[in-house]
Symmetry: C2
Subunit: 369 residues, 2 copies
């Protein structure tokens, strides 16, 4: 038996996974984590109105969700002052990134990103045979000018930029990104991933002409709205690009209760404000805990903080291992010199009590190791 004939591209792909989930780590460790601060999930959870809406929608899950996500797109359009035709809703930003890669990338096509930026984007690009060119961070910031220059140099079909950045938490003013776009080639698509923008200072979101064909912005209900498990992301862009998703997307892929929950979450902006304040307080406390242990935390416009462990990646990995072994799920950047840091998501006060307890232990163990 010869078995299925995979495409040469798929046959050549490794069976990699962008991230190992915390549940897999718990199964391997034989015990649950005490605090879950590794995946930039929002521990403050969905709006009570969203929770209620999703609960009430459970009995109605016998129905497929609206494949056009009409109600959610209409509400998002009103919030952003654009038309529903400029919005596509998808199965998280991850799902939308996969569709975009499929729409644009053929084997050998060039794509630009930052070295150490979002691995799932890289996974999708590689999954369609794209060739990634990586630009280093500059002072722990993604570097728009360098990214766009590289895009022009290699004739990139796509350039990816997260603002605020993950995993460092740093950010640029939206206006500075828009200004840097002067050097972006007309036929390069900028994916501006604004997953964390609701946590960021005013002025961080890019103000652009929605019909600018060079740009698509990614947003999500996974972070500030606290609904990562619901899998609701959306993209804002020019109508021809948004319409093109309809050629290939999984039209009936959206969970019905998730759509209903996202709409309810959007309508509870007071809760969003409370969450943003909770997250800011948690960032302040993580920074203070780090300082108490002689470590410096990077300023962050997200719901996580990169804590500089003061040495190299090997040391930071030891610190991470010691934290994980003490029941604290955290992650860290993959690439030097950013991998001198560990990345800690904003936790509840209880979560951060655990951090306060175990961080000095982990540092001692790592220094002894």
């Amino acid at each position: 038996m010869t078995g299925p004939r995979y495409t040469p591209l798929v046959a050549s792909l490794p069976a990699t996974v962008p991230f190992v989930g915390p549940e897999a780590q718990e199964r391997a460790n034989g015990r649950p984590f005490k605090a879950r601060l590794g995946a930039n999930e929002n521990v403050f959870g969905p709006s009570p109105r969203a929770i209620a809406a999703m609960s009430e929608a459970s009995a109605g899950q016998w129905m497929y969700g609206d494949p056009e996500s009409h109600d959610l797109r209409t509400a998002l359009a009103a919030q952003h002052g654009i038309r529903p035709q400029n919005i596509v809703v998808g199965e998280g930003i991850d799902g939308l990134l996969g569709y975009l890669a499929r729409m644009l990338v053929e084997p050998g096509d060039t794509v630009v990103t930052s070295d150490g930026a979002y691995p799932t984007f890289n996974y999708h690009v590689a999954g369609f045979g794209g060739v990634l060119h990586k630009v280093p961070y500059t002072g722990d910031h993604e570097d728009p000018a360098a990214l766009f220059a590289k895009a022009a140099e290699v004739g990139a079909k796509i350039v990816y930029l997260a603002n605020p950045d993950n995993p460092m938490g740093t950010w640029h003013k939206g206006a500075d990104i828009v200004a840097a776009m002067d050097t972006l080639p007309d036929d390069t698509l900028l994916i501006l991933d604004e997953a964390y923008v609701e946590f960021a200072p005013e002025g961080t979101a890019a103000e652009v002409d929605i019909e600018d064909p060079r740009l698509i912005r990614m947003r999500t209900f996974s972070k500030a709205y606290g609904m990562a498990g619901a899998r609701v992301g959306y993209a804002l862009g020019a109508e021809p690009l948004i319409t093109a998703f309809n050629k290939i997307r999984n039209h009936f892929g959206m969970n019905r209760a998730a759509q209903i929950g996202a709409l309810a979450a959007l309508q509870d902006q007071d809760y969003l404000k409370q969450t943003v304040a909770n997250v800011a307080a948690a960032r302040t406390r993580i920074t203070a805990i780090a300082a108490k242990n002689g470590l410096s935390a990077l300023p962050s416009a997200t719901n996580f903080v990169a804590v500089d462990c003061g040495q190299d990646g090997t040391f930071a990995r030891r610190v991470l291992t010691e934290l994980v072994s003490r029941g604290l799920f955290v992650r860290m950047p993959f690439v030097a010199p950013q991998d001198r840091c560990i990345r800690i998501s904003a936790g509840t006060p209880n979560d951060l009590n655990l951090l306060e307890t175990v961080l000095p232990q982990a540092l001692s163990a790592a220094r002894a190791g």
Copy 2:
């Protein structure tokens, strides 16, 4: 501005949609349907245990779902007497069909299906540039021998067969399909879509060696388990093929509450039995209503009934239009001669009271039209 550079394939694709959802029809009509019997949704809904589990999981939607769907795959493996390594869970069968097309189909590759079978499969094949060869139904049944002969003739990478069939509701014994596989080329993958198999007589599910590399079987929680909106499908197959999904799938694409709900639904086999009985009763009543109106209904092993309107596709389309205009959402086969039928999903007693009322009106109007 030139805009994004789509791949030649994507640039050439039409912006088709496999199905227009009932919500879009309701928006166009300016009023909601009175009964929703067009999409083979299961009006009897999820198990109360699944509803409770999904409701309780709403507050926990701040967490990503387990990307390995470990608990659900483990339970499914136990039910099927196989290993979790032989199961991949995905965003409905639609999502899994898209992944499979991506894994196997390059522009120009040949794929075989029945003429009038599942449009979403065709959509995914076309979306990767595959060339579809269509085999006619034989006596309103998909024809395994003809499908496999065509696959051998054209060197198909994939052959698609739904058992029971959609949209006709007809079925084959699993053993007959397995026997027909003797003529299936070793390097053709048979996608056996068993979405409706829980409604079918014993012996309809194919009994096969799970490591047979020629076969992958599709199952879902959308139909008998009444959870179409949750988007939980799964595939059973040889470990190398199942593992290959990990090269390309959206690892964090599964809704967390949906996974939890599916597990609870699986654990309530008594409710499943009750649903299957409810559906059988609804089929009997649809058949009786059809007969009262001088129409014959096809025998069905699914949760829908194809009702032969006794004339051609033009007439059946008129009947359908008249039913829809009277608040009854139904659909119909796309291809002659199967398009002489309308397809009516098993409804609640109230739904079928509406059918009983409006079918004679619709037939009169269609005959007058």
